[in-house]
């Protein structure tokens, strides 16, 4: 399936882009004119990390659907690994989000839609983890995990929408209506950082799937030797 690009190649590509992205973000993109000033640069890694987390959960969602259709455990491994990487990135989102909150609003935590949604997503995918650990039979574990991954991924945007019923959020709308477009230099720097982060995510998933497959091979060999 994923024999196309090796993990090291993805990793090197990610590294190059992230270094260039960091250089662009810190020296090329202008310093924010608003109150945030230089700390607005958090945006160049906070938002790409968030995008990478969502993308990883998206991969898990697609893998879950393919698994349910094919019953091929390869897709279960991909889903499992994607959730793990998604969780890793989500935790980084929370940390950078809190730093952003401190810099922008002066508080470490705000019950703000995006932050809250990510917090809940963390709990959802932690539950996925727990679910896997309490089912012994492999195929059943894969099936339940896939069903839950589908439901969880559907739930995340709904949660985000629901948080809008709460009083107004604090999150700056940087891209999209109302926030005005990005300046060319900002957009370029951001795009490089975003692609770099996504490549890094892909490299991590790629490598961890490899680990899972080798682990399967080891258990297979062990059982055949033991039996």
């Amino acid at each position: 399936m994923k024999k196309l690009v090796s993990a090291p190649a993805l990793f090197v590509g990610a590294g190059v882009l992230l270094v260039i992205g960091a250089l662009l973000a810190f020296w090329y993109a202008p310093i924010d004119a608003s109150s945030m000033g230089f700390s607005q640069k958090i945006f160049y890694y906070h938002a790409p990390i968030a995008a990478a987390a969502i993308a990883a959960f998206g991969v898990a969602f697609v893998a879950a659907i393919v698994y349910l259709r094919t019953q091929d455990l390869l897709w279960d491994r991909l889903g499992y690994v994607s959730v793990r990487i998604g969780l890793l990135f989500s935790i980084l989102v929370m940390i950078t989000g809190m730093i952003w909150g401190k810099a922008a609003w002066g508080v470490w935590w705000a019950w703000e839609p995006r932050l809250t949604t990510f917090l809940l997503a963390c709990f959802l995918y932690a539950a996925y983890w727990v679910l896997r650990s309490v089912v012994d039979e492999e195929q059943r574990r894969a099936t339940y995990a896939a069903v839950f991954a589908v439901v969880a991924f559907v739930d995340v945007p709904i949660t985000f929408f629901a948080t809008r019923f709460l009083p107004e959020g604090l999150h700056p709308v940087v891209v999209g209506p109302g926030g005005g477009g990005m300046e060319g230099s900002v957009a370029l720097s951001f795009a490089v950082c975003l692609v770099g982060m996504l490549l890094l995510m892909a490299a991590l998933i790629r490598r961890d799937v490899e680990i899972e497959l080798i682990k399967d091979r080891v258990t297979d060999l062990k059982t055949s030797l033991g039996g």
Binding site: L131, V150, F161, A162
Partner: protein, 228 residues
């Protein structure tokens, strides 16, 4: 062949069983009323504190936790006596099983609410909200449907795992948060201000959307959740 007849048969079987033993309903009702008493003491900071703005939250937190109790029971018997195999052997669409189980749980939740809401009103709500009964019932039904459909799907999964009733809340609670947000807000508005349909329309639509999405999601995945 009669999917509807099978649906009725499963619901009737669950109702007969529960009304005969009453083990689930009695504990759910006791739990709900006890929770209210505890909320009263937990939230009253001084004599005569106004708890109006907590009403929606108290009500839905209680219902969701009561439902968790009920959901664990609703599949325990199917599993313990291997009745689930008997059910799966029948020429019945798995989605029919899902819908029937959801409907059964919905009936139980509504029975609980029929007892709990008047007691709740007596305890916590000073103004009469009879005029706003209709919007309240709409919100109630929409939220219940979401709670029951999602809960039934997850209970089906958790009953087959090692830690059954421990797992269910961990799976269920984070997923149900959107319903809690919308239903709580709407209920509080009704109890506190007596708003009509107008200001609740968005929340009602949202609940309707949630129900639709999770009914479809369960539709697509229930085969896998209940089989093998």
């Amino acid at each position: 062949m009669g999917g509807w007849a099978q649906f009725k048969a499963i619901v009737r079987k669950d109702l007969i069983r529960e009304l005969r033993t009453r083990d689930m309903l009695v504990s759910m009702i006791l739990f709900v009323i006890l929770a209210m008493i505890i909320f009263h003491y937990a939230f009253t900071v001084e004599e005569g504190s106004d708890l109006t703005w907590f009403t929606g939250g108290m009500l839905w937190v209680t219902f969701i936790f009561a439902m968790l109790l009920g959901l664990n029971r609703s599949f325990a018997q199917e599993k313990d006596e291997r009745c689930l195999d008997g059910l799966l052997l029948c020429p019945v669409d798995r989605v029919t099983i899902f819908l029937a189980k959801t409907a059964g749980n919905l009936v139980f939740l509504l029975i609980i609410q029929a007892v709990a809401v008047p007691v709740f009103a007596l305890f916590f709500i000073e103004r009469s909200f009879l005029g706003d009964l209709l919007p309240f019932l709409v919100v109630l039904l929409l939220a219940d449907l979401g709670i029951c459909s999602l809960g039934t799907l997850l209970a089906t999964i958790s009953m087959n795992t090692r830690s059954r009733d421990l797992l269910l809340p961990i799976l269920f609670l984070p997923l149900i948060v959107p319903v809690l947000i919308a239903a709580t807000g709407a209920t509080t508005l009704i109890f506190a201000e007596g708003t009509g349909f107008g200001s609740l329309a968005m929340r009602m639509l949202f609940l309707l959307g949630f129900d639709a999405v999770f009914l479809v999601a369960a539709w697509g995945t229930y085969d896998f959740a209940i089989g093998e």
